[in-house]
Point group: C2
Chain length 325, copies 2
DNA sequence: AAAATATGCACAAACGTTTGTTCATAAAAA
DNA sequence: TTTTTATGAACAAACGTTTGTGCATATTTT
């Protein structure tokens, strides 16, 4: 068609015309022909040769959780801007699934992985990194492991939320936590306990074991069984909060009249709940953008001095916390 | 390592041992060695040769919309079960983005595409199909085009919702619609108008032009400006409904005391809103599963007799519609 | 005018598999 | 024993690019 060799075409289309001194005329011929024929290069062949796949992977625990869906959306959009395609995997909060996904992804020569690890194991993740594939953790991460991460300052978030409750006169507070094996959860526990201790308060308890609706529902039911009900509940995720609200509603407990509620994670809907819910909002957009920046730097072998970052959360006060006494 | 040829290894690992009569012993050797060396085949090379990429694509208008996130999640999980990897793209409700994505995906030799088309153009989609890549539309689709689709029976959904309002004594109803270029929207309009006409009601109007929060907000504001306020509003999506609620709240209009509200699309949160919202719930899970089944059949060149399906929606009554007069 | 240099492009190897074919050897049939 | 058939595994081409190298031809320098 162009009567030019394959290599010439390849170089022009890859913008290496100058480097290989392809004449202007030839370039135009190639570009024209490519348009006319609607030529799309075969990525597989290209990648096979070049080793670059133009593909990144994102593993999150559940696309159904709006918090993660939000992250996925942001990351997806950011990476497209950089001309990467992203494969989104749903580990379903299941360690085995996560491991299998990573295996599969490795076979697809992904250039990097952004992951919200779903458990406390990290060997498989570290192994991937050892193969030279950059990894960045978001939201959940591993302290003392030299994998870059971007997350919220969970300690501070929990600390502030708890203090807010305390300032409003609450002395008996219950926490419903998520997965105990996750670092953010641990830090939230620490932040909560710290605030309570500093205030000299001892009437608190932490229960729960999962970032799920069910966990929130069940634990709240349990809390409501007891004689001595708390004046406030602090849930560690939006899913837990929803379960909690369901249980409270079933037992005819009013928020915040009977029990105050504050939660981690924001969502547009929270404004429209029967009682608009106060929360600790994580900087999802910035977390996503920074994670993308990290992975991109690593792919390009750029050194990044600081690669373990905690961003400040924002407390959004609505009307789910009552001032008492 | 195994002292066997590459081809033998390939065949064993691809389960074609029997077909090519590879001895049991050799098979074991290969499998052992593969394990020991943690061998992962290079998909690019494999796909280059075989033409099969093991990759499907999903294009949706916005991951941030819980309705689509839900679909994405379901489809993702279903396709993983079939050993496919799925690339999720966010067209951002933008036609140009959608076209570009399709181009990019084609270059990646996807074996099929499931898409929620974001506009009224379909040439680029048809072109993809003409290249031999199976396409299935979900939610939004094109009538009179022979591309398979799975969606909700939007006419019936709107018809039933409207009738429900009418049965509750509403005579002055306003609709806030989404993108007029989409088939589901058109059918919802039809369903709504049909129900009104059949009831002999003439006091209705349809406004709006987008499945967005802002559209819902703005149109509601406009509606509230008028002298003659409707007794009920019917929004055509969850996003529109949220915008509508915000506007109503700002103007101190109570649901359902002052104005009743019913919407398309369900969401767990709807139960916990200040006024739990009645809705037409789309069978998301079934839509997703059927779409996967369609695309899988087409990939395997199986004939499917019926490939354009509308599934029945479910009306979920909560408490946002008042009985009047 | 000859030599040196710059310019433009094609050749061919390589990437890591898959797969049709061939070839050797072992077992079965004649 | 010889011929036929079954069994097992290697050979080599091909997939569609990328990229190092080399060979002309054109241009500049001496």
């Amino acid at each position: 068609m162009t009567e030019l060799s394959i290599s010439t075409v390849s170089r022009v289309l890859n913008g290496k015309a100058k480097q290989y001194r392809i004449g202007i005329k030839s370039q135009q011929k190639v570009i024209e022909a490519a348009k006319k024929l609607q030529y799309v290069p075969n990525h597989f062949a290209a990648n096979l040769k070049s080793g670059r796949s133009g593909t990144l992977a994102l593993i999150i625990p559940s696309l159904n959780n709006p918090f993660f869906a939000n992250i996925a959306s942001e990351i997806n959009i950011e990476l497209r801007k950089l001309d990467y395609i992203v494969i989104i995997s749903d580990s379903n909060e299941n360690m085995e699934t996560e491991k299998k996904e990573i295996q599969q992804l490795a076979a697809r020569n992904i250039e990097g992985l952004i992951i919200v690890p779903c458990g406390d194991q990290w060997i498989h993740i570290k192994e991937l990194e050892n193969k030279g594939i950059p990894v960045v953790c978001i939201d959940r991460y591993f302290e003392n492991l030299d994998i870059p991460y971007v997350s919220t300052d969970n300690f501070e978030g929990a600390f502030r939320a708890t203090n807010y409750l305390i300032e409003n006169g609450h002395k008996h507070i219950r926490c419903i936590q998520g997965s105990q094996s996750s670092t953010p959860n641990r830090l939230r526990v620490d932040g909560f306990c710290d605030a309570m201790k500093k205030a000299g308060l001892k009437n608190y308890e932490i229960s729960g074991n999962n970032f799920t609706f069910e966990n929130g529902y069940l634990e709240t039911k349990l809390i409501l069984q007891k004689e001595n009900k708390p004046t406030a509940i602090f849930t560690f995720s939006n899913t837990i909060a929803m379960g909690c609200i369901k249980a409270l509603r079933e037992e005819n407990i009013q928020i915040p009249k009977d029990i105050s509620l504050i939660t981690f994670d924001d969502h547009p809907y929270l404004d429209y709940l029967s009682t608009p819910l106060s929360c600790i909002a994580q900087p999802v957009s910035n977390i996503s953008k920074m994670a993308v920046q990290f992975i991109y730097s690593k792919i390009q072998n750029q050194q990044i001095d600081i690669s373990q970052v905690l961003l400040k959360p924002e407390m959004k006060l609505r009307s789910s916390v009552n001032k008492i006494n």
